[in-house]
Amino acid sequence: MSRVNVQALLRIADDELILGWRDSEWTGIAPSLEEDVAFSSIAQNEIGHARALYELCARELGTTADELAFDRSPDEYECAPLVELRRLDWAHTIARHWLYEEADELRLAALKESDNAEVAGLAAKMDREELYHRLHARMWAERLRGDERFESAVTELYPYALGVLDGDLRAAYSSRVGLSGSEPQTHERGSHSPELASLWEEMTSVRRSVPGATW
């Protein structure tokens, strides 16, 4: 069995953790109660996926999932700029949700083919859960299709969404989301917005308040 590609898994884990955190920001303030429940539940799933991936990586690296999730400095996270964006309006929220889930399905399909049985098995389980996210995202994308604010949000966030995927998956992605004509400047991983630093401050504040504590 081949070794776990820790760097590749950490990228996905960081995406899921940070997006889960962003999705949870709708808890209590979504435009309807049903969407409040939906985004809270999606957030919980994404953070659960991050945990499972971190645990796999932690075993390889001789650390713990919590240390990977919370004890790195913001510039050590490998998340894509798409998931860092905060305080989006509903049109942008749905545009990001839809663009991300479409990208995530392609990424998971590749991961399910991994030579490492544990990685492939985890990807398959994640994909079963992500199905519900995709159904939700596609329902909303269909509902808002043709709406000016939604369409411009998709155009604006598409260069960010490309940055979620490795280069070899981008052509398939572009045609999947119907944007294969344009070739925008992709927002690649590696640089972070100030928005990640403020998220990190909040996300790690309790853990940093008593270093080394058992919660």
């Binding site: 939906a38 659960g48 389980k125 079963r128 859960e129 199905l131 519900y132």
Partner: protein
């Protein structure tokens, strides 16, 4: 010396932390029990990876094994070999009796939104005149539905 049957019986006493009418064994999430002398190895799978009850379930299983005088080793299996099809017939009946519609069987093809929207049976009155209110619910494993016949909202275990 503890036996596998004793361990299974002990685990069957642990209620699901979020749906306590059903036990972990009825839920099918206990995948295997192996006894080697005083060491008991249990493999289990969470329904959803983000299940907040993961640690609670793991600790409850370990406590049951220790109460039998053995040493537990509880392992979490996170692959796709568990599905809601593994919920036992008795477990499905307990869910229904407490107002949860049991999950639909897992099909080879992923369900579409259209398939999930209509036709599921209300656990209160038995009518299939029901609609999907929300794919998501109070925990990751549940959807919310509404029965047009008896005007009762109800939850359904998602198919995984």
């Amino acid at each position: 010396m503890v036996t596998e049957a004793q361990v299974w019986d002990a685990l069957a006493e642990i209620p699901d932390p979020e749906i306590p009418v059903i036990s972990l064994v009825d839920l099918g999430v206990v995948r295997s029990v192996d006894v080697d002398g005083d060491d008991v190895r249990i493999e289990f799978t969470p329904t959803f990876l983000g299940c907040p009850a993961l640690e609670v379930m793991r600790d409850a299983m370990a406590d049951k094994v220790r109460a039998l005088g053995a040493e537990p080793d509880v392992r979490v299996i996170t692959d796709d070999s568990w599905s809601t099809d593994k919920i036992t017939a008795a477990g499905r009946e307990k869910l229904r009796a407490s107002g949860f519609a049991p999950p639909a069987p897992r099909e080879a093809a992923a369900p579409t939104l259209l398939q999930l929207q209509k036709g599921f049976r209300c656990p209160y009155c038995g009518s299939t005149d029901t609609t999907l209110e929300n794919l998501f619910g109070p925990t990751p494993c549940r959807s919310v539905r509404y029965c047009n016949a008896c005007r009762q909202p109800f939850e359904q275990f998602k198919t995984i």
